[in-house]
Symmetry: D3
Subunit: 227 residues, 6 copies
């Protein structure tokens, strides 16, 4: 539930062991393992290519054009966290830059996911501090209105509860509820187990039609071949 | 949390008395009374002007292009409910038309809020069945994949729990958590109580600058008048 | 194929009888009858509510900001035609207003479908000349570059061949290939035949779950009811 | 130039006589008379159909989510003005509702043009107070940051200087610099003078190809007719 | 024409020699050589910079969220083909990843053009398998509904017939009808022949105004120089 | 004011010394130093990462699909200028490629800012000629309609007067009025002076809450910590 003016100090983070296992998989695999739910909208893009992280969510609820709560959030970060920032209305302002990144990293943050804009992207890239955002904007923000830290938020169309696992890479950002972290890691591992074999067969020219035995189903569905 | 393949039969609806009181206010007033949170994104528009409702949410989680769960939802509708439909990915297909509206109304629904498309808008308008949607589209849907009914969903950027109050009119759609319905109605009533007096003074030519005593604060903030 | 600088004088229009039968159905029904293909994108909206037409397409290919070919198209209009205007790049300029509408109507046109902007919408509304467009814009156009008339075009994501049937109403715009007009009208009629009966049953409170016998399939798919 | 924290009390409004003459023309005609410049982007739409105004601009520069300066602007309104509100970053919040409309009207305003959102649209429609906006949103705003009144602004892509003429109707919003008001009114009048004759000829079936003598130019440009 | 449930086995591919010649030119040059038609919308972007291909189109028509037909398409790929995937409604799901890329490449495909989303972009980049898409998304798809292979489709606003030539690079994607491949290659070659000379003169400081002899035409058009 | 068919030969460029000082700062710092005004919309993106420039604006007003005036503008470029191109309506065509870049560079231009599309991006990247644009598109343009050079324009939502300073980098494009260049450079320098110290303290783990002494203000605003 949205609540304003609140900071929750103690949150139930997903178990470290499950987070570490999830870190071995891409967002696409984890999203499949979740049953194809929990993905943020695809407008969320990394500021540089190749970043990949899995961490526990510290959430922030911001107002448009106001990044006051980012400083409040910094104090709640623990080693291995990812800050997830939501805004109460659409906004592309640059809420975050290299100073905040320096602070977040010093507190142990792995990265930031923000449903708004970010700036100083050249510095952030040089620092290797990954950010997934919906915009890049030089426009700064003020510090005037209270939001909240560690409440449940909606970020880029996905519900995020404090302590949930965030898996993010070049393909997007997926949210795994803390309680499902371990079983999702199991399911992801199972999915990947036989991918190597499949890849080798496909590379050798075997068709998916045959490997997945689709021909009969397709024929039953009415597929017609014409010469 | 998103869960697929689940129908919750018994939900805790907001108290009827609070819902009825909320029904007296517009979405703008209720949104202010909530502390300016809980509003769906402004792309959600009514299919015809002038509609206004307040009801309790029966939620549906759909997959793109698949409206199977709308039929499952119909059975869970009680008198005074509003169906709130979320989709697991962006989609503008027309998930809902006059047949479903006939069924929903027969079960007691006041209207529909859907983060996707709707069709048969001429018939729905003639029926007086209000729908707030992000698109109008003749494109129909299939019935192939399970979603859920009465789980928490994200609809147009807002978190909706089954039983929450939905207040919708020409200005948009706001969600009031069931537990806050009564106090929000109180706050809304307090807001409106002295609006009539203000309107009369403004109509008489009194300036907001004077009525709200803003001149001193503006001067302190540095406002300069130039001739 | 796009071809520039060409006007095809003789086109094969869909049979009048089939067009007249299609005119009895809404775009949603016709789209279903087509197998859910042939729909223009939902950003195409009528300039006023309640319009409904079915006619044969005279196509125009325009360049951004240039409506020269609209005058060339006027001469190719026959009674019962609908002009379908495509543009070689995204453009929202107002290519069409009340003067062209007067001319198009005098030649027998029922309306216009344009993947760009239109202006004089108050006059067009007063005339009852329906237009489906992606924008309304006061910005006029020049007459400098050749396009084509009666070539195959892509309009709002749909392929349109000269002579195809256009069915348009409040729900959108659907294209029926001339050769499929008659069988599509048959299929649309079949779809509507038993809708009245269904509507009555749903209005009486019968659930779609029972009327469409969905319960067993849903259970097999794994749907679980929770109390 | 953007300047913050400034209110200009005395502005040079376009001459009333020229404004009154411009009021006789639609935005499309005025835009043509201007040489096809000065039009706001077509995402600016009226909150209800049929409104039409011409007035002198009182400009306001706002910050996202903050409508403080609207109250400051109210005091600068004179009979026949139109308030033109720009925002320093994209924002769809509802900066304006029925209370402010009551105040603006009491001061003599004809309407509002705002590159952001508006709310209470049902009340505004009932009052007949026209607003052109880019969104409708129940989301209210705060009063915390200084902007300016009567400085030059960019509104929906168009430059507006205080005192310029705003002509707005169903087709959009056009800005006429105060110094060009009279000559633009002349040019608009000249454009309309012979439209009636053209309309009659087109209605009688004369083709634009012949009325505008386009056939030769088209042939020279290479247009080919195919049977 | 859109047709569902069909796979055309034998298509008329553009001649290899013409395709090879077209491969020497960028999409901008080819688009000019076509007379400025046949370009896909600019939202189509390569997943990594520097890719450049020319190949013959194998087309696929997909439904939103369903990539079943991609496997059917794989079997129809011949050496030097490019798969062009269209969808019946807007969708950003990730229809394609590294496994399908492995299979497509094994069959001889040079790359993919898809009016939807793609995933596993890090792997695809490592493989050097180029994709032009409108989105990147971790969201996977199901295999439930029949589309078609090797029918004419609309992809990102462009009509594509099986066997047409696709030229794609950092500037976009252009479609050359098979029958026009040779003459388009000639026209492209002619365009480029004298570009080197022009570039040298411009680099030496000669103005385009003089090199293209524009001064007189500009003066005739009324251009005025002010000091 | 928009004026068509005009080329202003002599413009008042910002002082070189101030421009050179501004060149030391990023767009975010300059934007803050301006009081958070003057930023172009964030859809303006560089065609390659890492570019950074500060130069004086030569402005061009173009019509959609027509780049004639770019050649006229070339003659007005002086060493250290940046060309700023605005268009009278939304357009994504590629108005600019490697030939024009060769010419602009030969005349002394540092780069281009264009509220439209650009092409030949691979060549431009190889040349190291930076462009900030809203699109990349292979679509070329014609040379038929007069615009203007060195008039005031609106580019991506920002007002630009000839001679203003343009500061552009990975974070966006900011416009500094010529008359404010020196004082803005001062303000930017002041902002950066103590950033190094702050960065070091934040890196050492000091919280912004303490460094900026926010705790008391937050408590007064009502922030509550919950365990």
């Amino acid at each position: 539930m949205y609540q304003l003016g609140i900071v929750r100090r103690h949150i139930q983070r997903a178990e470290r062991e499950a987070v570490d296992r999830l870190a071995q998989f891409g967002s696409a695999t984890v999203h499949e393992a979740m049953g194809r739910v929990g993905l943020m909208k695809p407008y969320m893009r990394p500021i540089y290519g190749g970043a990949h992280l899995a961490g526990t969510a510290v959430t922030v609820l911001l107002h448009p054009g106001d990044n006051w709560m980012m400083h409040v959030a910094a104090e709640q970060i623990r080693e291995g966290d990812v800050v997830v920032a939501a805004v109460t209305a659409d906004c592309t302002d640059g809420f975050f830059g290299d100073l905040l990144a320096t602070s977040f990293r010093a507190q142990g943050a792995l990265g930031l996911v923000i449903d708004a804009g970010v700036r100083d992207v050249k510095d952030l890239t040089a620092m290797g501090f990954p950010v997934w955002s919906k915009a890049i904007s030089a426009k700064g923000t003020i510090k005037a209105t209270l939001g909240s830290v560690n409440v449940s938020v909606v970020c880029a169309g996905a519900m995020v509860h404090p302590g949930d696992v965030i898996v993010a890479d070049d393909d997007g950002v997926v949210v795994v509820p803390a309680a499902l972290a371990s079983q999702t890691a199991d399911a992801a591992a199972a999915r990947e187990a036989n991918e190597a074999g499949k890849r080798a067969r496909l590379a050798a020219g075997v068709l998916g039609l045959d490997m997945y035995q689709m021909r009969e189903t397709l024929a039953k569905a009415g597929l017609k071949y014409i010469d």
